[in-house]
Symmetry: C2
Subunit: 297 residues, 2 copies
Amino acid sequence: MKADNFADRLSAAVLDKGSRVCVGLDPNPDRLPTHLLEGNRLGEAVERFCCGIIDAVAEHCIAVKPQAAYFEALREAASPVLWSVMRYARQAGLLVILDGKRNDIGSTADAYARAYLRDDAPVDAITVNPYLGSNGVIPFVKTAAAEARGLFVLTKTSNPSSGELQDLRLSDSGKLVYEQMADLVARWGAELIGEYGYSSVGAVVGATYPEQLAELRARLPQTPFLVPGYGAQGATAQDVAAAFDERGLGAIVNSSRGIIFAYEKRNLPPTEFAQAAQAATVEMKNQINSAIEQSAG
Amino acid sequence: MKADNFADRLSAAVLDKGSRVCVGLDPNPDRLPTHLLEGNRLGEAVERFCCGIIDAVAEHCIAVKPQAAYFEALREAASPVLWSVMRYARQAGLLVILDGKRNDIGSTADAYARAYLRDDAPVDAITVNPYLGSNGVIPFVKTAAAEARGLFVLTKTSNPSSGELQDLRLSDSGKLVYEQMADLVARWGAELIGEYGYSSVGAVVGATYPEQLAELRARLPQTPFLVPGYGAQGATAQDVAAAFDERGLGAIVNSSRGIIFAYEKRNLPPTEFAQAAQAATVEMKNQINSAIEQSAG
């Protein structure tokens, strides 16, 4: 595992599977199919739900993104369930991107890296929040380099208020905050470029801001993007097409609620949550691939 | 518990105990006293270490700040140990500030709030990273209001590279990024002001930047500060005196390694880690109180 490079594993998986889909595992306890809760503790229900989703989508997506918050909502039961689900996803041949937006400095950042990015941890990459500056990111970069792991640094996020800080203009450089951050991300990742031309230090860039997405693609030619905001947050396949290069590489697009709770929108019984998730994943895969072809043609 | 207000519990504890010390629980697995590791699994050693520290310091500090990263380093064993330690600290009469620098939006932020700030969770406040803007903070503010809990928003952090983003000047307002963030923190906390005049929405302001600390104290007269950087990171009691008002309220000062690993610096055997931590806590308490008195006089 250590001999290779996260960015290359990501690109190879995209080409191999013909998919750019990342399925977000957001097992909101309030929305779990009720039949999973009967006779089970909540943690067991979460685990069965996530593993059922993984079985159904593994062939059609390249990664899952467990959202740490929904596992932490299990309180003392959190970590055994999270780790079990992550191991299951790895065994299903998926990349695992743990979305915890972690951030800290020095030996504390090393402790997070020790938890998730070292040795046999079933995690390929984590999301990192850069508010602390280089001290809060470089420890993760160093571990990623040594352990063939990756990270995705929050740059321009998909939420409505992301501009409150990220879109402000800086007087010295004339850049916007997210542009400044983008340039830092490129610098942090400059020594981790793989054979496909992408770094193992990626950026989180929301699909809900397609102009900024296109601009950042041009600004960061070697940075892979993790693109949230598809589906439930309103972005379409056309919105994300600009995130990809001419090979269809350079990004993966995440959908969480739109896939794992697809049975609700499709008016299917909760017992068919997995089939509905599979259908939604296939549909999203095809829509993105078509949009990329149209955009290239 | 819900009838009162986190900020008031904080101020009352400071006046009651005559202490402004928060002890950071950073149980770095590589630095645990070796006798605790003999015959114990790592998680047990971490728990014994933290509970031993809590017993020793409870009388002389008002809060502990468990650092989530060092518990997460226990991997699947993380959450049971973290929750057990937090419960133990609460039973010892301490406020518990969980330092996870969490950040997310909407229902995901609610999941973190559900985990740590609701019902019988043994957590009084958490630290929050504001890079996502209001969407990433207001869900925590709402839960804090409903559940008499608090949060501390990263504003000007103690690390050397904090200025890479936080000290940049914004062209529209002419403010620095951390000043802009400070004004947002005041706005987010404006409706949670308690009887002592402080909000349950606090700010993290590093002791290692004493000028900015003094400036932010003046700028945010109703915001309690969680002040890291004391001791191991180099800040002194004189550096933090400006964080306090004329009543000696308005801030708590954290020290982690300087207290929990005090036996190393004092050349005491590891078996005396708890006594060393107690002595270091008493010393820090007295130094801060003296510096406040001198500064007032």
